[in-house]
Subunit: 336 residues, 2 copies
């Protein structure tokens, strides 16, 4: 049973393992520096479907299928699953996973979804409720653009602080029994709102939420940043990452030497013209499952603190002049 | 620790209690047959805010505040909370609860959200992870109409099978210690898709999901429908309720004498011109917290099976011709 520390941090008693994992991506992700890390790259943005939204569903269908196949598991071996995405009413997830007929609990945390799913799966495995739980998420550049910004056909100019929604999905099977990597501890995030209203600068909106959860995790667990090979944020991009590091510096906590951001790692930002970097649920999901989990499994790295960040905004309320509240959850994943 | 039965049903070992609860509604809900059951009625659809969306947030802020006040709890006494709603990116929840600064886990299950929140809170309390967990949800007629159908100003004619989204919110505090009502067991739902495509007939789309989870619950727990004072569906309305009862009859399970539907109960359907009845996350949330939980607390009724149902549709994918997959979760709540 997980042990609760003061700041909504839970230490696992018998750390659940990440039994299997898979990542899939789109064309831009395949052409980026992590292209070879994905289990599957889809060059067609429709993934043979008729619409971008249905294409995004294919990403989740693929990542869950591959994660199950790698572990020789069938859908009926899974107790239940958590899933969510950025699309209105999370339909990327609904249509992606419905045919598996696995008992399902929908989650919404914007781009923090991968961390929320891992966190809940970890807590429920360590407490004995579940033996095998799946967590999945996705995002798609084309479906996100037309929902959050403009139709692609409009050809709008993007600001330098804007981020590029990744076309990707990550899926994990969390298990009460198995080998590394292990989920050692989690911190549940709080909604943080520093008053940012620019929907083209979500890194700045999300950095304070990452700061809040990382500082609470480090304080609760009495760990120094250097304990971790990497402190991995989801998709702060260049702007948000700089802001996070400077917020930490003000508290005299230096994370610069171990900080990595999935949004910066996913693309060759200059060459691929990705402005401030990647974003989207699939960004942190894909990079975690494609890059970090294999290194933890092989023992090449020992510990990461995975902090996916989400901007809890909607175009409707943004147009009404409201701020962009954000949230981030922290998950300590270890090779030991 | 909850004990898992075959069909994703969990029996609580030490049943957590619903320590406190609150329901708030709008003008139509106040004028309906349950008007006196709400803790607070808001006659102003804006709830003193500038927009309907911000108004919906006020509903959640109110219901959480009242639920905490009734139990003499402060936000810092809550371990974490689950919340979600129907609005794109669940912003009703985000802006409603952010000022409480309670560690937050967003969920999305359309109108099944109250059952999903109760279910997760129950599992996590019984397994010792949380001592006090809040679950909240809401819906708002005006914000839902313009998002899912037409702007109110358009004055569109509604079909007889259409349902009226309730302006309401329900909030509960689930606790590992306390007095009745208790959460005795839960069944996690699966996504069910019977091919319905009419967004003005969501009762029909959701009935098969309710059927799936109710039959699994009854089979797993070896209970007959007559064991329950009421089997309470969320918002099937008149059309979906008839369909559910006839689906059950085909399996030779008669629930007609104990079946109640929150969407039918909330309004005087003929007099208030509510077509097929009420719907929305706040419909089942408000009726559970305003009508059923007080009766369970007083011992007037002994057992209910609460089955909130959700249509996992979005206007985007509905316009693309896709079906309306649905989900329902079951929660057995008892006075003993």
């Amino acid at each position: 049973m997980p042990v609760r520390l003061s700041g909504a941090t839970y230490i696992m008693e018998k750390p659940p393992c990440i039994y299997s994992f898979a990542s899939v991506g789109g064309k831009d992700e395949g052409e980026g520096p992590l292209g070879n890390n994905f289990d599957k790259i889809n060059d067609d943005p429709y993934m043979t479907s008729k619409t971008y939204e249905q294409g995004e569903s294919q990403l989740q269908k693929q990542s869950v299928r591959i994660a199950l196949e790698k572990a020789h598991l069938k859908p009926e071996n899974i107790d239940f699953m958590f899933g969510g995405d950025l699309l209105n009413q999370c339909i990327g997830t609904t249509f992606g996973i419905k045919d598996y007929e696995i008992p399902f609990l929908g989650i919404y945390g914007a781009c923090s979804t991968m961390a929320e799913g891992l966190l809940l799966s970890g807590l429920l495995c360590d407490s004995g409720v579940g033996k095998k739980i799946v967590a999945v998420t996705s995002s798609h550049f084309c479906s996100a653009e037309r929902q959050y910004r403009f139709p692609l056909e409009y050809g709008g100019q993007r600001t330098p602080t804007a981020q590029h929604t990744a076309t990707a999905s990550g899926a994990v099977v969390v298990s009460s029994e198995g080998t590394a990597p292990f989920i050692r501890a989690v911190t549940i995030g709080r909604i943080v709102d520093m008053g940012i209203t620019d929907a083209n600068n979500m890194g700045a909106a999300m950095a304070p939420a990452a700061f809040d959860v990382i500082t609470r995790f480090l304080k609760d667990t009495q760990k120094a940043p250097g304990f971790f090979d990497y402190i991995v944020t989801g998709d702060l991009g260049k702007v948000g990452s700089e802001l996070l590091c400077s917020l930490m510096e003000k508290e005299k906590i230096s994370i610069g030497s171990v900080h990595k951001d999935c949004g910066i790692m996913l693309y060759d930002i200059e060459k691929q013209d990705m402005h401030a970097g990647g974003s989207g649920c699939g960004c942190s999901g894909g990079v975690l499952c494609g890059y970090f989990l294999p290194k933890l499994k092989s023992g090449e790295i020992k510990n990461i603190l995975f902090v996916a960040t989400g901007a809890l905004m909607s175009p409707t309320i943004n147009q009404q002049g409201e701020t962009i509240p954000s949230i981030a959850h922290a998950v300590w994943i270890s090779a030991e």
